[in-house]
């Protein structure tokens, strides 16, 4: 596969970070706090999702849960574009 994302992952001066926890957090942030909000005849008011997120932050400290959830989905890699080596050499 040659998605742009794979290219990020294999780039030589790109390092992988410990992605699991951040990835989960990023995903929850996107899904719960962003995305088009459609008002109208829906059963749950999504306007207060911020409140939910506060609770989730607490939960996410539980790595076990995070990992369990992560296994559910295609892993989304996260690439840190940080040439740490070069920086340390100077």
């Amino acid at each position: 596969m040659s998605s742009p994302f794979d290219q990020v992952l294999i780039g030589s001066d790109v390092q992988l970070t410990d992605e699991s926890e951040l990835s989960l957090l990023e995903t929850l942030d996107h899904v719960l706090n962003r995305g088009l909000v459609i008002a109208g005849e829906i059963t749950i008011a999504v306007a207060d999702v911020d409140l939910i997120f506060v609770g989730l932050n607490v939960l996410i400290s539980s790595v076990e849960t995070a990992n369990e959830v992560l296994r559910e989905r295609e892993r989304r890699g996260i690439a840190a574009v940080s040439p740490a080596k070069q920086a340390a050499d100077q």
């Binding site: 290219q7 942030d29 996107h30 719960l32 706090n33 088009l36 829906i42 059963t43 996260i78 574009v81």
Partner: protein
């Protein structure tokens, strides 16, 4: 079961009155969505259900049926306080939206958009068709990339002392001053260093935003949810950029150049994605 607020509900095939609602993930062009649904599908928000399309005016809403015993307003509000339950559903929501977003332009909806019946979804598509069509068109061929900016405080502070001529001069003066004077001067230097560090981080963040802006169609600065201290340092800024797929290489190269340039001052840049365009779905 309270059963108090049942309206027009779809029953399942077994005659038992299991009230269902329609959980909506995203909206896409109806024809494209139909092809994609046929090509296979990820797990919907509740296992055992299947993804369906509700079409209206060339638009297709990707939905799956959910039991209202779980997804009705009250039971759902209670379940949402269970972080594990919510996290798993949020992941499934994301997996479905991603599945479509990889294959066509979609309007990603926020978690928890649930209609009591099919006609509600149709009506929404009808009423908002112009707006939704515009968004789908605008997002076509584009993906969202997250850019997180971190700062290693120690490295930043060390670097500040080196690059600021004023600080360097003061440090030299302090070395030659009497112990009492030197003490006061060092206090002053510390304060200056903190100010200078703040200013430098702000400049770096602006620089990142400005440069990556040139390689994207749109960008937003996001609020930082909590002070995250990771192995990369402290999270200083979060952005989302809407990037044309065909321009991603350039975007990424620009990010890498920035990363190299800013690394000496302890700044790190992290790319996440590609995401469905959650941050650019508003009309």
């Amino acid at each position: 079961m309270s059963g108090s607020e049942q309206t027009k509900l779809h029953l399942n095939s077994h005659d038992s009155a299991v009230a269902v609602g329609y959980y909506v993930y995203c909206i896409a062009d109806a024809a494209r969505a139909s092809e994609i649904v046929e090509s296979g599908s990820p797990i919907p928000i509740e296992e055992g259900a299947t993804l369906e399309l509700i079409n209206e005016k060339n638009l297709g809403a990707v939905v799956s049926r959910v039991p209202l015993a779980t997804y009705g307003e009250e039971p759902l509000a209670a379940l949402l306080t269970d972080g594990a339950w919510t996290a798993i559903r949020a992941m499934r929501h994301e997996a479905v939206v991603e599945f479509f977003a990889k294959r066509t332009s979609v309007v990603p909806l926020r978690f928890g958009t649930i209609y009591l019946d099919q006609s509600g979804v149709e009506q929404m598509l009808d009423e908002k068709s112009e707006q939704l069509t515009e968004i789908i068109h605008r997002l076509d061929g584009r993906e969202e990339w997250g850019v997180n900016v971190y700062c290693d405080r120690q490295m930043l502070m060390e670097n500040i002392s080196l690059v600021s001529s004023r600080l360097r001069q003061m440090t030299e003066e302090a070395q030659q001053a009497s112990p009492g004077q030197a003490y006061l001067m060092h206090k002053k230097i510390e304060v200056l260093k903190v100010d200078e560090a703040k200013a430098q981080v702000a400049r770096a963040v602006d620089q990142i935003e400005g440069k990556l802006h040139d390689f994207s169609d749109d960008n937003v600065r996001l609020r930082i949810l909590k002070v995250e201290t990771t192995e990369n340092g402290e999270l200083k800024a979060k952005f989302a950029f809407l990037v044309l797929r065909s321009n991603f290489e350039n975007f990424r190269n620009a990010a890498e150049e920035l990363a190299v340039e800013l690394s000496t001052s302890g700044m790190k840049i992290e790319l996440t994605g590609p995401w469905p365009a959650y941050n650019f779905a508003a009309a």
